[in-house]
Symmetry: C2
Subunit: 347 residues, 2 copies
């Protein structure tokens, strides 16, 4: 619990820390007994609840680019990554913790406009409020490279978490929402950066201006919505035998699900809910859509939408056989192996 | 839960991830239901328990130096920072989570010897085993600057956590162990680096050789012992009205305690348990000793040692008065203000 470290004792920064503490206090917090300000935060789980815990590290130049991504989007995406892991377990958010390593200039006002960190917090806290995930603590340190580590703690009734390991041969494979939108949005952002002389010459924070008419086409990439309500819906009704979130791309994440469950999978190319702006390759291999991928017995009847988001059957789980691929893609031309080819970030 | 990200898919690194998972499984884990390998870890608190959560970010060049600190010490110190926060609340460790951002060369074998990350884990996991704090998850990402974010989750009976906010005027101020040893050890390390031509010319990992005869004098800095047993002892007996750990130095941390409790404090210089290798200034302002600083009513009788570690009364809490310092140092010459002058790291 180090939002008050002495290494950030300059007047402007003490004020920043007080501001974080004040702003964090604005987010509703049912299970939080003690937030920022002591050695630890204190959480009160309810009887019969287990706690789901996940951490995700985002590094500038790898998971985001200071010269491409608006600070609000970096804040939103940082928290969305963690919330999506909770969603994949069917857990309800209890509290978030954020460790930020930042170059000093990102904590200071530069010319017109707010400091980078304030805009980062705008995006972070807006999403935190939407999903009732109060910022309960964290750490702040100076670092030559911007990095954000997000910790999410959620609650799930004992023994009811959606695991990766429960898919059985014969189960149907489902996905929420659509796939490839985030990859298509990123491609659009890269194109914008390439044709924007100011941005291409500068690695300075948020140098890239995003025209308003392009914003909707970038939203899947910049402001993904974790499927927290959908995960809890599935958990409560015991309908899914296994689940995970599509963070590294369908081909990669489905392979993880198969490995942990000890099964193989077949995906029907024609059934995939490809995002309207995306290609089939982006839907198969693009990352950061943060949709849920899950298994349910063939006999289970699922609605077409869960909490307002489409649910689509896209294939099935089968027995693993020697010489057969772990994940296969079924097209009009027959089967072909679908090898992991997910997200390569910005490296 | 991302120790299996696709960005680390090279054969050597997949093998590294499998090794972390295997080695982490070796640490005892009473409250851990599901560890590395799914979207989240699952913890099972016991009835009536609250959870204490803390995160601490360590950045190369600021909290440690790759060219000074043996990787084992970086691993040990990373975990010790988090454990010490639990100790300060009187909480028992349940699980640790570790996010590592590392330059690629630190994950690879270079010439003779193990990769840096393996030696880091040696130090980390040895301490984790000592304190029954299983590594339950985390994240691993490539980063141009080495950084480690540690998350500790502990359990404490409801309403019994030691807070910073309970000290009252008249309470006695205590500290465990001795003060200044870590600062003295760091000064010794800096001197060694300055007189070691190989190290001073190179910023390469662990270039500095530490002669065996110097090791004991560096131990307080390189391998601090968090006071987990002492914190739990105080919590169980309801003897402390407030507590925190000395991470930023007595002068800084005591000011935090006073601020959160709304009191002032007087420290008796002659009573301070100054580490045998340290100066008074190092004991007053040096950081990273990870001793516990706590308050107890004047009428409380405490033993001289708790779980094998000395406990020393070093002053008292008094009412805040206008024009009087928040923290004062009492010497033979009278009172003087003791202003926060703690740890400045390596900047």
């Amino acid at each position: 619990m180090r939002f008050l470290r002495n290494e950030l004792r300059e007047p402007g920064e003490l004020e920043l820390l007080a501001r974080i503490r004040r702003r964090a206090a604005g987010v509703s917090a049912a299970g939080l007994r003690l937030g920022i300000g002591d050695d630890c935060a204190l959480l009160q789980p309810r009887r019969g609840e287990q706690l789901a815990v996940t951490t995700d590290l985002s590094v500038a130049g790898r998971h985001f680019r200071l010269d491409w991504h608006p600070p609000e989007a970096v804040g939103h995406r940082t928290l969305a990554r963690g919330l999506s892991d909770l969603a994949a377990m069917g857990a309800k958010p209890l509290a978030a913790f954020l460790s930020l390593g930042l170059p000093r200039e990102l904590t200071r006002r530069s010319g017109r406009g707010q400091p980078w960190i304030d805009r980062f917090l705008d995006g972070f806290l807006a999403l935190a409020e939407s999903y009732k995930a109060p910022l309960a603590g964290g750490d702040l340190a100076e670092s030559p490279v911007a990095a954000a580590d997000i910790v999410l703690i959620g609650a799930v009734p004992r023994g009811r978490a959606l695991l990766r390991s429960g898919a059985r041969p014969g189960d149907t494979l489902y996905v929420t929402g659509s796939l490839g939108g985030a990859a298509a949005g990123l491609a659009q952002l890269a194109q914008l950066a390439a044709t924007s002389p100011a941005a291409s010459r500068s690695a300075s924070p948020s140098a890239l201006r995003i025209p308003a008419k392009l914003a909707p086409r970038l939203a899947s990439h910049l402001y993904p919505q974790p499927r927290v309500a959908q995960g809890q819906w599935l958990m409560k009704r015991k309908l899914a035998t296994a689940a995970l979130d599509v963070s590294d791309g369908l081909s990669t994440d489905l392979a993880h699900l198969c490995e942990e469950s000890g099964v193989a999978a077949e995906v029907d190319a024609a059934a995939l809910p490809v995002h309207h702006a995306a290609t089939l390759a982006q839907a198969l291999h693009g990352g950061e859509d943060y949709e849920l991928l899950f298994a349910a017995p063939q006999t289970t009847r699922l609605p077409r939408t869960i909490a307002g988001v489409a649910v689509t059957p896209i294939g099935r789980f089968v027995r693993r056989r020697k010489g057969r691929p772990l994940v296969a893609l079924a097209t009009a031309q027959g089967f072909q192996p679908l090898n992991p080819g997910g997200w390569e970030h910005f490296s």
